[in-house]
Amino acid sequence: MTFSYIARRILQTIPVFIGITLIVFLIMHLTPGDPVEIMMGRGSVVTTEQIEQIRHELGLDQPLYVQYLSFLGGVLRGDFGRSIIQRAPVMHLIADRLPATFELTIFSIIISLIIAIPVGIISSVKRYSFLDHIGTVSALAGVSLPSFWLGLLLIIVFSVKLKILPVTGRANYGYGLVPITNFLLIDAVITGNWGALGDVIRHLLLPAITLGSYMAALTMRVTRSSMLEVLSQDYIRTAWAKGLSHKVVILKHALRNALVPTVTVVTLNIGILLGGNMIVESVFGWPGLGRLVINAVYTRDYPLIQGSVLIYALTYVVMNFVADLLYAVLNPKVRF
C-alpha cells in the first residue's frame, strides 16, 4: 500500500463528486415543483409578490448555472448552504441525523454477521443437510420479505402483543440519557447510565433486525457458496491429508479465503444500508438520514438534497476503499 496509491484514489473521487452533484442538481431543478410554494403550503394566505420576494432572497431566481456554481463554491469553502424549508445550515441538519443512521447500520450489520457467517459456514460444511435447508429457506425469506412488512410484524408481535420491546424512537426520555456524541450506545456507556444502555439496545433491536435481515440473508448465501468453492480446492485437500483438525481446516485455511467475496458484499451493502434506511426509519420512527433526504426531495429543498447526496457519495467511496484495504489484509497476494 503506497502513498501514491492512496493519493490517486482520492483524486479519482473528485470527478465522481462533481458528476454526482451536477446530475442531482439538474434532475432536481428539472422536476416540477417550487420549494417556496411548497413551504408556504397549498391553499394558504400568501401573495405572489411575497413568494417572489422570498425566492429572490434565497437566490432561486438566478440562472441555474449561477446557482450551481455558487453551490460548488460554497462546498469548496466547506459551506453547504442553508435548508430552504428548515432554514438551518445543511451540514448541521445532516450532522444531527448521521449518528442515528450509523448506529442503526452498524448494529444491524453486527447482528446480521453474527448470524450469517456461522450459518453460512455450517451450510457449506453440512451441505444439503437439514440445517442447510433451513438456512436456505431463511435466506430466501430474508431477501424477499419487504422491510415495512417485516417491521410491522415484529412490532405487532414484540411490542403490541408481548409488550417487551418499544415501537419507536431511540431511547425513553424517562432514563434521562443526555446525548453527547449522539451515538446513544456510546453516550450511555460514557455517562455510566446502564438503565439507559439497556433501553437503547431494546430500541435498536427491532429496527436492526428488520434492516439487517436482507444483509444477513445475502451474506449467508455468499459465504456458503464461496466456502463451497474454497473447500473443493487442492490446498484444502492437502490440509485434510496432513491430518489437521476440522476447526483449523475450516476456520483457518478455508474461511479466510472464502471471506473475500463476503467482504465485498458487506462493504458495498453498508452503502446501501446507509441510504436505503428510509422505510425502516419511517416504520420505527428512527431519526436517520434517509427520512431527512426523502422529506427534502418532497419539498424540493435543493441545498439539503445536494448536501445529503454528497454524504452518500462519500460513504460509497470510502466503503469501496475499505473493501480494497480488507482484501489486502485477507489475502497477502493482493498488493496495491
Binding site: M39, S44, V45, Q50, Q53, E57, A88, I155, Y173
Partner: protein, 510 residues
C-alpha cells in the same frame, strides 16, 4: 467458560426484556405521537402546521382561540380599534418568560416587526408575513400597551393573531435566530427541555405560568408535568404505539384503520371537523360551465353524502358552499340535494339534452373520489373521465383557464373566510382558478376588510355565501374530519378544528 458466557448472556437478555414490561409513562407525563417532525421551533420562521402545534404549547400569543374557534384574550387583556389602521392592545401584567424575565410591550413590538419587516430573520423575510396582511409594524405606547399599525384596514386581523406567538426580545437578541430555532423560550404553559430531531420534542411544566386565557378554564399552571411530542411517521406504527401504551394521543388516523383502535380496550377515537374543504372547480370563464344553469345541474348530479360515506367512512360534513361549519361567518344554507332527474332537466334546459364530454382533473391522492364523481356525472348523461396530474403542472394550466373541471382542496387553519372564501372566489384572487367574478361579492369582501365590527363582518360573508350558493362556481363538497386516537388515560382533551393540540388543560391518570 462457555457456561459463564451463557449465564452472562441470559442475565443481559432478561435485563433487557424486564426493563420495558413495567413501562414508564407515569401519571405526570403525556406523549403525543405525531406524523412528522417540526421543521423549526422558531415561531416566526415557518408555515408548518406541525411546528405550530408543538410550538403553541411553549409560546402564547396576544390572543388565542377556544375549541369553538372563538378568539379570546391571552397575553393581551383587551384591545381597541382606535382607527381602521390602528389597533391598540393592552397587555397582561406579571407575565414571566421561562427565563424569569418580565413580558412587556417591547417583546410584542419586536415580534411583530420580526414578522412583517423585510429580511428580519437571518437576512430573509419571515414566511409568515402574509398572514399579518397589511400590518406594517408596532409601536410601544407604554410598558404594557402596544399599537399595531396597518397600511390598510384589515377586518380579519384578530382571526390571524392566534397563530402569531410572541418571542422574547432580550432572548432572541442574545442568542440569535439559529439558536432560537432549536431552543424556544416563551411565556407558554410548558418550557422547552430538548429537541431530538426526527424523534421527539420534550417540554416540562412552567410552574410560574400566569395561567393562560381567563376565558378558557381551568386557569393556572398546566396539569401534567412532562409533555413529549414523539415523531412516528408510519401510520401503522403510530397506531401500534398507541395500542402498546407507548403514546397517549396520535394524529392522522386514517378512517379505514379506526377499527383497530375502537376494538382495543385502552384507547378510543376522537374526531373534529378538519380545516380542509374539498370541492370541484368549474371554469366559469369559458366552455360549457360558463352557463350558471349547467353549474347548478352539476351540483344536483352529485350525491355528496354518498361520497363522504364511501370514501371517509362518514367522517365528513357536506357543506353548502366552501366554508366549514366551524368557520367564522358560516351561513347555514342547506347543501344541494342529490337529484339526478332535476340535473338532467336543467341540462336539457341549458341546451345539453344529450350531455357533453368533460375531463375531471385531479391528483393521485384523491383520484378514487374523482372516479366516483365521473361515474355520477355519467349517470346524468355527461361523458366524464378522470385525468391525474402532478399539482405543480396542473396549477399553471388552471391559472391560464385551460381546464374545465377539477377536483381540489384548500386548507384554512385560520377558520376565517379571509383564508379560503376570499382567495378562492374573489375576482382575480390568487387561488381563484374558476375565473368566477361577481361584483357584489367583491364589494362584500371589501366591506369585510374595512369593518372591525364582528357582526357586520360576519354578515358580509353570510350574504357572500348566499351569492355563490346560487352561482355555483364549484360543485360544493365537504370538509373531512380529523381523526385522533386517544388513550383512555387522557382526560379533558378535545381535538380542535384548527388542528392545534393544546395540552395546558389535559390530565392523565395512571
Amino acid at each position: 467458560m462457555k457456561r459463564i458466557l451463557v449465564v452472562a448472556i441470559s442475565i443481559f437478555v432478561s435485563g433487557l426484556l424486564l426493563g420495558v414490561v413495567s413501562g414508564w409513562a407515569a401519571g405526570d407525563t403525556i406523549i403525543i405521537g405525531i406524523h412528522q417532525d417540526a421543521t423549526t421551533l422558531d415561531p416566526g420562521n415557518h408555515r408548518d402546521r406541525t411546528a405550530e402545534t408543538i410550538i403553541r404549547n411553549m409560546y402564547d400569543g396576544l390572543v388565542t382561540r377556544t375549541t369553538d374557534m372563538v378568539v379570546v384574550p391571552q397575553l393581551a387583556e383587551s384591545w381597541e380599534v382606535v382607527s381602521p389602521t390602528e389597533w391598540v392592545f393592552h397587555l397582561r401584567k406579571g407575565v414571566k418568560w421561562h427565563d424569569g424575565e418580565s413580558f412587556t410591550a417591547e417583546d410584542v413590538k419586536f415580534t411583530i416587526d420580526r414578522l412583517v419587516k423585510e429580511g428580519m430573520i437571518n437576512g430573509i423575510t419571515s414566511p409568515r408575513k402574509s398572514l399579518l396582511g397589511t400590518v406594517n409594524g408596532a409601536e410601544i405606547i407604554d410598558t404594557y400597551t402596544v399599537k399595531l399599525t396597518l397600511d390598510a384596514p384589515m377586518g380579519h386581523l384578530l382571526a390571524f393573531l392566534p397563530f402569531q406567538e410572541i418571542v422574547a426580545k432580550h432572548y432572541v437578541e442574545k442568542v440569535g435566530d439559529d439558536y432560537l430555532a432549536e431552543h424556544p423560550m416563551g411565556t407558554g404553559p410548558f418550557k422547552f427541555v430538548r429537541w431530538d430531531k426526527g424523534t421527539q420534542v420534550v417540554m416540562e411544566r412552567f410552574d410560574d405560568y400566569y395561567g393562560g386565557s381567563p376565558d378558557i378554564s381551568p386557569v393556572g399552571p398546566a396539569r401534567v408535568k412532562t409533555v413529549i411530542f414523539k415523531v412516528i411517521p408510519e401510520t401503522s406504527s403510530r397506531i401500534s404505539a398507541l395500542l402498546a401504551g407507548e403514546v397517549d394521543i396520535i394524529t392522522k388516523v386514517p378512517t379505514d384503520l379506526m377499527g383497530q383502535i375502537e376494538a382495543s380496550s385502552n384507547a378510543t377515537i376522537a374526531t373534529c371537523n378538519g380545516t380542509r374543504s374539498y370541492f370541484v372547480g368549474m371554469n366559469c370563464a369559458n366552455g360549457v360551465f360558463a352557463d350558471k344553469k349547467v353549474r347548478q345541474a352539476m351540483n344536483y348530479a352529485i350525491d355528496m353524502q354518498k361520497i363522504v360515506d364511501t370514501f371517509y367512512s362518514g367522517l365528513g360534513v357536506v357543506i353548502p358552499t366552501i366554508l366549514s361549519p366551524n368557520a367564522f361567518g358560516y351561513a347555514d344554507l342547506s347543501p344541494y340535494a342529490y337529484d339526478p332527474k332535476k340535473a338532467k332537466e336543467m341540462l336539457a334546459e341549458a341546451g345539453y339534452p344529450n350531455g357533453f364530454s368533460v375531463v375531471i382533473d385531479t391528483e393521485d391522492f384523491i383520484k378514487d373520489v374523482a372516479q366516483a364523481y365521473a361515474q355520477m356525472l355519467r349517470e346524468v348523461g355527461i361523458n366524464a373521465s378522470v385525468q391525474v396530474w402532478e399539482w405543480s403542472i396542473l396549477k399553471p394550466e388552471l391559472l391560464a383557464s385551460k381546464r374545465q373541471m377539477w377536483l381540489a382542496d384548500w386548507g384554512n387553519g385560520s377558520m376565517d373566510p379571509q383564508g379560503l372564501f376570499v382567495p378562492k372566489l374573489g375576482t382575480g384572487a390568487r387561488g381563484n382558478y374558476t375565473g368566477y367574478s361577481n361584483k357584489t361579492l367583491d364589494l362584500l369582501f371589501s366591506l369585510s376588510q374595512i369593518t372591525s365590527n364582528l357582526t357586520e363582518r360576519a354578515e358580509c360573508f353570510i350574504q357572500g355565501q348566499k351569492i355563490v350558493y346560487e352561482d355555483c362556481p364549484m360543485i360544493w363538497g365537504y370538509v373531512t374530519k380529523e381523526v385522533y386516537g386517544v388513550s383512555r388515560r387522557v382526560q379533558n382533551w378535545t381535538p380542535s378544528p384548527d388542528s392545534r393540540i393544546n395540552l395546558h388543560d389535559v390530565a392523565v391518570s395512571d
